[in-house]
């Protein structure tokens, strides 16, 4: 009926006493260093196991004088999307937590519409004295080139937000994009009957940079196709410009396709919400889109957007650095793929979403 937790901290000193050695020797065993006889090593290991010794990581963080330098290379926040700001928020949270451990982190931001800024920033990183770099691989070829150079210099790499074929050393942390699409398909399937019309909307500038949208769309279509419910699915690309121009395109396509569901493949779903809000004369289809941005949530709250699928960019940023910390300091193995949860937000749970 009651579980007790007692015992004052059983520390390195206690081990030393029990083993009749100095604390330095215990430390050597704890950190798997050379220069300990097998006999004492075994004796100490046994005591550690017997007493279930847990090191005090705070004491360790105090005494250890790390000199780790991490770099972060992600797109800068643009007016069009606050998505990367959320990611940056998570990164700053991690930076603050990591500082007491002697870890310095430098953030490099590039313009995702200007590959030169990526090249320049990545060159800076290569010339710096970094131990690891967190990369959002928007430019696939340039990233491939960059990580190759990193690996030559023994610089660890980790991807966030989307994965690419050329491997980083520490894997990828972010959503499974195919599943993200499948989830959108799953939600869509609950909204409409057999034979309904679905319009997939890509609203973006320079679509060539957004290969990962294709993965989402594949998952979406595949899921719906396998239901055998004879949905009519069309895909339309709309360049992201002034609202007025996007509106014109929306008007055209909505009239052309009269969809029952609109699936917006990225965080620009608020634009579509605004469109139907401004045009109450047009029957609103169900609308599914991405990301917990203020403007998206506004139209969710107004009932214009039905489902927002969220992949926690803040957590991605936070955990990317957290994994680096664990890799370097705690020597933990890190798996190749660290999937992020994929959250579903509606008008009835958005107010509790933030922590």
């Amino acid at each position: 009926m009651s579980e007790d937790k007692g015992k004052k901290h059983f520390g390195i000193k206690d081990i030393a006493r029990l083993a009749n050695v100095s604390i330095a020797t215990v430390d050597r065993v704890l950190n798997n260093r050379k220069d300990v006889s097998d006999a004492t090593r075994k004796k100490i290991k046994d005591i550690i196991k017997e007493y279930n010794y847990q090191p005090n990581i705070y004491a360790r963080s105090l005494s250890v004088k790390n000199n780790l330098n991490f770099a972060v290379l992600i797109p800068k926040t643009s007016l069009e999307t606050g998505y990367w700001q959320l990611c940056l928020d998570g990164i700053h949270k991690a930076i603050k937590e990591l500082e007491p451990f002697g870890i310095q982190t430098t953030v490099f931001l590039y313009d995702q519409e200007d590959v030169d800024t990526f090249a320049k920033a990545s060159a800076q990183i290569l010339n710096g004295k970094f131990n690891a770099v967190v990369i959002a691989p928007i430019f696939i070829n340039e990233t491939e080139h960059f990580v190759k150079e990193c690996h030559k210099r023994k610089l660890q790499t980790i991807y966030i937000n989307s994965d690419i074929p050329s491997k980083s050393t520490l894997g990828y942390i972010g959503p499974d994009l195919n599943s993200t699409g499948r989830l959108a398909g799953n939600l869509t399937s609950y909204l409409i009957g057999a034979g309904s019309k679905i319009l997939i909307l890509n609203i973006a500038k320079g679509l060539e940079n957004y290969k990962y949208l294709d993965t989402k769309i594949e998952g979406y279509k595949e899921y719906l196709f396998n239901l055998n419910r004879d949905f009519k699915i069309d895909v339309v690309d709309i360049p992201f410009n002034e609202y007025d121009e996007v509106e014109k395109e929306l008007q055209l396509n909505v009239h052309k396709y009269t969809p029952d569901v609109l699936f917006v493949t990225n965080s620009r779903v608020s634009i579509v919400g605004r469109f139907f809000y401004d045009h109450p004369e047009i029957t609103k289809p169900y609308i599914v889109g991405f990301d917990f941005l203020k403007e998206n949530v506004d139209y969710l709250a107004k009932g214009m957007v039905d489902f927002l699928i969220c992949q926690r960019p803040d957590k991605q940023g936070y955990f990317a650095l957290n994994y680096l910390y664990r890799f370097f300091l705690l020597k933990e193995e890190v798996g190749d793929f660290k999937p992020m949860p994929i959250d579903i937000i509606t008008i009835e749970n958005y107010m509790f979403y933030e922590n």
Copy 2:
């Protein structure tokens, strides 16, 4: 294009040097203790502000010798529901993290079908030397009595999982139960057309102990009623017994009501999933229920359950203790209501839900 983070830690020593005082005096100012002249206090405060001094909480945790004792009073895990096990998992995680700060936590488990066990455990807590207690207030009157006694003894209290009218000193951490019901209503509304039939199922032993289910049901009905879509809603209580008996009840009620949606108000939704899995001859309605328990997820994965609404019992447990830590050690103000996120899980995102 790049944000720099530099500077070795600016510490209490640096402040002391700049202010021409000893570190003890700086410490006095930092911790708002008496016995410092206004002049030096101001000088030090200015330096702290100017250099944006951030204390190293790890160093603090090392040197401070806290003697805090927390108690946790929650239902024990029963065979029928792993819900409280999840909560306990989060609590154990927090206990481990809090130990290095000199915080001892004792868990008391009571049987939610036996009020005597609650009385006995709460008496034990009152006789102990605790500074605070985390309470899951299943027994409303007994909890009211207990917290009154706690408050007489200057014992801080905090509720988790569900709230009750008699106030704890540190508020409530958990879901907004009315919203939880509304969210279930919201999802339901996407599944069915006007005039559809909905059956609400309470499957529980000793229903009188589960007042909080009523709050969920209220939110659910209210949401659906306000849509004016002429849904037919019925509520049925089924005592929780052997599966065979529940099955019989289910069979009766499904035939009687032929619902289009089944809303199971607690975590016993796997039973309903199993029922339709075992009876493929009966047309399965849409099924909405609660909680990320293994057996529920199994039937979600099998396509028998459509939506699971999850209120993160693990996080509730973790954060309850985390709040106590912040209240006592960081002197943070804690709000009255700390809402938990309400998550939606389907067959397409459950595999990424756990962290």
